[in-house]
Symmetry: C2
Subunit: 175 residues, 2 copies
DNA sequence: AAAGATTGTTGTTGACGACAACAATTGATG
DNA sequence: CATCAATTGTTGTCGTCAACAACAATCTTT
């Protein structure tokens, strides 16, 4: 942090800027202005880039759509799995969702504080907890699913209903 | 942090565990073991979940494939855009890639330290920098692109060549 | 010249993935 | 049965990343 010497900002002007008018970009643009015709070059052929942008958009919409109930995508996924498979251990949930068990601890803490989920000591294995939705948790999840379905409609509006289903088919092997 | 009272762990055994044998899950499974047949319920219909899992996989593969040159996806995207549009300002690059300009500062710091990119004071606007690849930066980028193409082949192997192209088409509106 | 917007920068916050260590407990092996 | 390895939940740290807020320097507008 203390090493960055800032050759440009504060000392701007000391360097003579001996450059031909401007090494005109690959486009027709001279400077880096607002013009939205900046080429992405190899990036357009990369699935990762498109997926990253898409995921950003989709998560933001999810968070916004479920803002009134203050539930984030990961929390929703945890509650959904527990709701469909009551009695699961934390390890099982973590493994199934691809979450680290260390991270799941905090997620469950927050959900337990809000009385949506309860950790019940397993009768057969005193190391593990059997995860269950509470009464209020079940009721809440119904509403969450309604809102999540609304979010899913936003997705369909954005990329098209057909495309959304195709996408789900293509990525089914990751779920 | 100091409030979590841990009703289960340390005090395990004090509570009588008055529960019928086990509230058998929706599946046939009793406990939350390793069995990989845990239902996802509503999650399977959510694009966001599939996309999150896919992005995780794809980024890990990218990082692994480009590990020898120590370049991460975001760094690659920055260098690619600068390479294709020399002279861009930081604002322009940030806006184009959907990165925050605050974040781009650090990205450029690291790339400038490695002498891949240089911030040249703009001749027309003394606030902004014109971003360029250095000689070594251009050479390196060629290799990065080769490795990135190899990564892209991994993606095609994973989800299928046809599916990959379809995916790119569907998500083209986000790039 | 003054007011407002833009650009790069610094800093903070919170979500998240990865990893390492630990106590309690279970399971397997001798 | 005693012992050792493995598992489970937990705590902690580290680094990445998005989102904001504030700031100085500089442009733009009036």
């Amino acid at each position: 942090m203390a090493s960055k010497q800032q050759t440009s900002r504060k000392a701007a002007g000391t360097r003579a800027a001996i450059r031909r008018p401007q090494a005109r970009a690959a486009n027709g643009r001279t400077q880096g202005d607002a013009g939205d015709d900046i080429g992405l070059d190899a990036l357009v052929g990369h699935a990762g880039y498109a997926v990253r942008r898409f995921q950003l958009w989709i998560f933001q919409d999810f968070i916004k759509t479920l803002a009134t109930v203050d539930i984030r995508p990961t929390q929703y996924s945890v509650m959904t799995v527990i709701g469909a498979n009551p009695g699961l251990s934390q390890m099982a949930v973590a493994k199934r969702l691809g979450i680290e068990r260390a991270r799941l601890v905090h997620l469950l803490d927050s959900l337990e504080e809000r009385a949506f989920v309860s950790r019940i000591p397993s009768a057969t294995d005193r190391r593990s907890h059997a995860l269950h939705l509470t009464g209020p948790g079940k009721t809440a999840l119904v509403q969450f699913k309604r809102l999540a379905a609304e979010h899913e409609r936003h997705v369909a509006d954005k990329i098209g209903r057909e495309n959304r289903e195709q996408l789900l088919r293509i990525l089914a092997c990751f779920t």
